[in-house]
Assembly symmetry: C2
Homo-oligomer: 347 residues x 2
DNA sequence: TGTTAGCACTCAATGAAATGGAGTGCTAAT
DNA sequence: ATTAGCACTCCATTTCATTGAGTGCTAACA
């Protein structure tokens, strides 16, 4: 059996209606409220075909049809017409507090949540490579050393280091010189034993301090990126009857609480072909495609934002499968453009 | 009418039972399952009195009684016998990752949530005073300055500062000297125009750099503490039928999402008399006592942890009014002791 | 041959009525 | 002062009939 033009139109009508109402949709509705001018009986026949083809499902014998995951997928892939969302208001708010990145991201999450009525999460940026650009050791008090490390992406890390006994100013200057000349430009992977040995040789005395300092540096570089996740509107989930069952809702909202799941989420394989939108990398995951068990009744739309080369994070919107893909993708698209601008200016 | 010994015993029995079941409790239950050896009729009479006194409420004519806020309050204030909770397991976990404070706090939230089955929040520490202990300016690249500020509580802040044109090394040394001698030990409030003027005089040239640097310092000191809030187990709310109504649940869980409400919460007036437990400052807020509208059907138990003098944060547990106060207070108590230890060692 | 009207059938949802039971208040007896 | 007993109330649960949206199938039609 083939999926001819008419079947497609009917499928589209079914999905559209279902997105609206969340109720199974029957043949009569389609017959009346579509421009096909077909009787309900005809629609019924077509629907039977569509069901056989796996695009729609009948929850029980005498009910209407609802889209299957396969149906949604087809809809998202081929039938979505891109509208440009309305993201005017956010822009100003963001530019005001252009300072702190975490504020911005939190704001973005909140904006999307209130505008779409779904739950949202925004992950903080990850840095792809971490190389040392500059190291400085300073003696703050007699028995406290401050280690400051500047990475090549201008991220600054610091760590206090308690000392057994004071260390001479002269020695600190020497240490700084050695560390900078030896380590600058190096990745953590490059800091092998040979390099460490080389440093130690030059220091002679105070080798144990070098140990501590190198340990701090190592930790800093390897350190799991703090993997901040900003969420908002998780309770929107409760607005959709098909998700608001207590166990389901608890699972979904709980997942938002567990930052760990973001790991999985960030690692989701990109769809073949690069997703809906090449520039902003917008992707849609339906039901089990999310790979997260507790999300099997949800859909998830993600986008990737880039702050600069090699520094990117993700934005995700989670809602019921019947989420308004059209609006979500539209909003995300226009939001991403705004973000691009803002980050460009910031730099 | 007086609240004699027997009435008190009965009230206690009613509340205990209600905490367990969440159902209105009737006279017969108390008569059977308490050691009072009274018939249900007698209990009924006493219950009528207790109701008149405002300690219990009858949801409808032919139902049992449930405790009123006043009843809970009496219970919490006078009838709670402190048990020592079981907090063995947490200790080890915490000591492992003793490094990062935010990890610890998140862990604490999670621990409490899973152990009590209520929703929990832990606020990051606030610093009462912020004085400058040490300032350092460094030139990282030709046109980039790094400003590092160490506060007297050993918190380190840093900020990159772009430059118009390079600045001589010599000048930086001088700047560092001036800044440290002038500003060390100063609070932000002390940094008035006079001080600033004094610095500028000493610098002469490069005054505009001083401006930028001072701005950075000012921002750092004034900066709203990031007011981190770690939450866990918010979905536990859904486990209690009296809270899991969709609107209510959404309000409560939503409140956990809004960091803003933590502001109010942190500012809650201490109860007269210092709360249940002098050492750890454990406080119980019942229903409207929380001052947060969306929490009017909840109770909230809070404790204050101290990392060092003047650096403290709060831990809160939110559940239904019929929460197991006994266990919660017990657990909190013993947790706080553990935390005290850990923070002491860290220092 | 594709479309449609018509009809019998299914089944979830809704609502009304019946039932059961937990609990109370009151009274009279102990 | 306590208790047994009884009538009464009211919520919760079950039962049952009804409704209506929706289907599949068949026969008629263009």
């Amino acid at each position: 059996m083939e999926l001819d033009k008419r079947k497609l139109k009917i499928l589209q009508a079914i999905i559209r209606t279902y997105l609206d109402t969340g109720e199974p949709v029957g043949s009569r509705t389609i017959s009346k409220y579509s421009d096909l001018n077909l009787s309900s009986a005809t629609i019924r026949n077509e629907m039977a075909d569509l069901e056989e083809l796996g695009y729609i499902i009948q929850p029980h014998t005498s009910a209407g049809r609802i889209p299957s995951d396969k149906g949604y997928r087809l809809y998202v892939d081929t039938m979505l017409d891109a509208k440009s969302g309305e993201v005017e208001s956010l822009r100003e708010e963001l530019e005001e507090k252009a300072g702190k990145l975490d504020d911005i991201l939190q704001q973005v999450a909140k904006f999307l949540a209130t505008n779409t009525n779904y739950a949202t999460m925004v992950s903080g940026p990850r840095y792809q490579t971490k190389r040392v650009k500059f190291i400085q050791i300073t003696s703050v008090e007699d028995e406290q050393l401050l280690v400051v490390i500047v990475l090549d992406n201008n991220v600054v890390k610091n760590q206090m280091l308690p000392l057994e006994k004071p260390i001479e100013e002269e020695m600190i200057v020497k240490l700084n010189f050695i560390l900078n000349t030896t380590l600058n430009g190096l990745d953590v992977l490059d800091m092998n034993l040979a390099v460490i040995q080389k440093i130690k040789e030059q220091v002679g005395k105070h080798a144990q301090i070098i140990d501590s300092v190198l340990e701090v540096i190592g930790k800093t570089l390897v350190e799991e990126d703090d993997l901040e996740v900003y969420t908002s509107g998780t309770t929107n989930i409760l607005k959709y009857p098909e998700l608001s069952d207590k166990t389901k809702a608890a699972e979904i909202i709980g997942a938002f609480e567990e930052k760990q799941i973001m790991h999985n989420w960030l690692g989701l394989p990109q769809k073949d072909g690069g997703g809906l939108d090449e520039t902003h990398d917008i992707q849609v995951y339906i039901g089990n495609e999310t790979q997260i068990d507790s999300m099997k009744d949800c859909s998830m739309v993600t986008a990737t934002y880039r702050i600069q080369e090699g520094v990117y994070g993700k934005i995700g919107i989670v809602g019921p499968k019947r989420m308004d893909y059209d609006k979500v993708v539209g909003t995300l698209n226009s939001l991403m453009s705004q973000l691009d601008d803002i980050f460009k200016n910031k730099k």
